[in-house]
Amino acid sequence: MSKDIRTIKVDYLARVEGEGALYVKIKDKTVKDVKLKIMEPPRFFEAFLRGRNFDEAPDITARICGICPVAYQMSAIHAMEDAFGVHVEGQLRALRRLLYCGEWIESHVLHVYMLHAPDFLGYPDVMRMAQDYPEIVKRGLRMKKAGNAIVKLLGGREVHPINVRVGGFYRVPSRQEIASLVEQLQWGRDAALETVYWVAQFPFPDFEQDYEFVALRHPAEYPFNEGRLVSNKGLDIPVQEYDQHFVEEHIPYSSALHSHLKERGAYLTGPLARYNLNFDRLSPLAQETAREAGPGPECRNPFKSIIVRSLEILYAFDEALRIIEHYEMPDAPAVAIHPRAATGYACTEAPRGTLYHRYRLNEEGLILDAKIVPPTSQNQKRIEQDLWGYVAQAIDLPDDQLTWQCEQAIRNYDPCISCSTHFLTLHIERE
């Protein structure tokens, strides 16, 4: 092979061959190709859901992702309620937002502390980082535990909540039960503030991009469960029109489908998109902190997504405390549901971005077909474009350094390798 041709290959999920991989080809100091491959197991779940009852969708789809089961449950639940003409309001709606606060805290803290911060501080992993910064890592674990506590109280258990259903919940907490979270969440809010100031000091490459950001936007709130789907380049649609504007195409080198906007191509969803499209909806504390310590109202550098995630953690603690302060136990844990033949649509804001569910149902509420579009598959095209530009900037680095920087760059997007396997990769010596 000519020495002017370089190939960078990263199997960044070593557990299963081909499940997640990056391929970069450089010729004569010019990037010629970038391919990012992420497995798309939601296709399996779409098939698995056919013939199931509508009320099974939240529990089944929750197993697509162990980090963000609440997001899958909420998108499934809202899509079914859309189909049946049901709108949940009041304290049940507030409890759903509180549950989502818990998931954002869990997911974002895991990513910021365990997966992403080590990159900026020069450590290969959080275990090595913990040798030098044990108290910081313990702070992250304790923050995560606060998020877990919310999900456990409202969801029935920390992972794969069992207490949520179409129409509401199976059981709602008393005011006393929910108040038991306050002290832990107040500590968490202070820790989240320290986190923003900590990550804001990290060294960031200069890498601003002209994104089309896509996220939900709500008239009054930073979005979790509801809103219109908007962008900074003209998109403003109800979620029921998603399929009219977003197209999925099969990519030959990947089992995943790449999403793009019909009118303009690749787009970005996730914390950066939410932040840029909804900064004015953050709590006063989060906005003030963003101006003092962080990027201000706008951020187009994907490396600084760690600051934005930290601001969303702060918002989630703040919002959780606000909801708890105003909580009154509802008279009933759920509203009545009457199945009918219909198609239901929903987008909710998973930690990684907008998660779209669509279900077609018969008159008994059985699922005829399902479509699930996770945020990471929506971002794949845009991530490839960013990597192309980033590699072009770093092209003179030796291959091993460039490979490591590519892996770090991918972590900017916190890609969800949903429905991953988790076996132990063993190297056994036999004498």
């Binding site: 399996f44 980090i67 972590r411 969800c416 390798i417 396997t421 990769t425 063993l426």
Partner: protein, 153 residues
């Protein structure tokens, strides 16, 4: 029986043999073991392990493995005395049980006693069917875990 033992099965029930750890825990659930907590864990966010084993006298963790050994091979580790063989690359998404064990070691938060059983899988494609060798191995690990519980008393 000890004051408190926690047995954790790790895996994804929709990825074939990856459900091996979950199967062992479900087989144990048909028995009654006083003072024993049985937990299923997806393995995506294994930081929860540090809380699960915090008050346990004994901890047993069961997971699928991928080492190139024949399907159904059972391997037992003692991570208190030696690091568990680790994946060569860190995931950008999940925090694995092996990473959780090594993080706990760095923070001084390893459990008092920890045994890890690994069951070699061969099929990790999307689906809910386990390989026959893995199912048989899960029954074997269940018997060994029951023997462990009897030895703790």
């Amino acid at each position: 029986m000890p004051l408190h033992t926690v047995i954790i099965g790790v895996g994804n029930e929709y990825r074939g043999d990856d459900a091996a750890g979950l199967l062992v825990v479900r087989m144990l659930k048909v028995h009654e073991f006083p003072g024993v907590e049985l937990v299923e864990c997806s393995g995506d966010d294994s930081t929860v392990l540090l809380d699960l084993w915090k008050t346990a006298e004994h901890t047993i963790l069961v997971d699928a493995s991928c080492s190139g050994s024949p399907a159904g091979t059972i391997t037992r580790f003692d991570p208190i005395n030696a690091p568990v063989p680790r994946s060569t690359l860190t995931s950008s998404h999940a925090f694995s049980p092996t990473e959780a064990i090594e993080l706990a070691r760095q923070l001084g938060e390893l459990p008092r006693s920890l045994a890890v059983y690994a069951i070699e899988g061969k099929n990790f494609a999307a689906g809910t069917i386990l390989s026959p060798e893995v199912e048989q191995a899960a029954r074997g690990v269940t018997r060994r875990v029951i023997a462990d519980l009897q030895s703790f008393s």
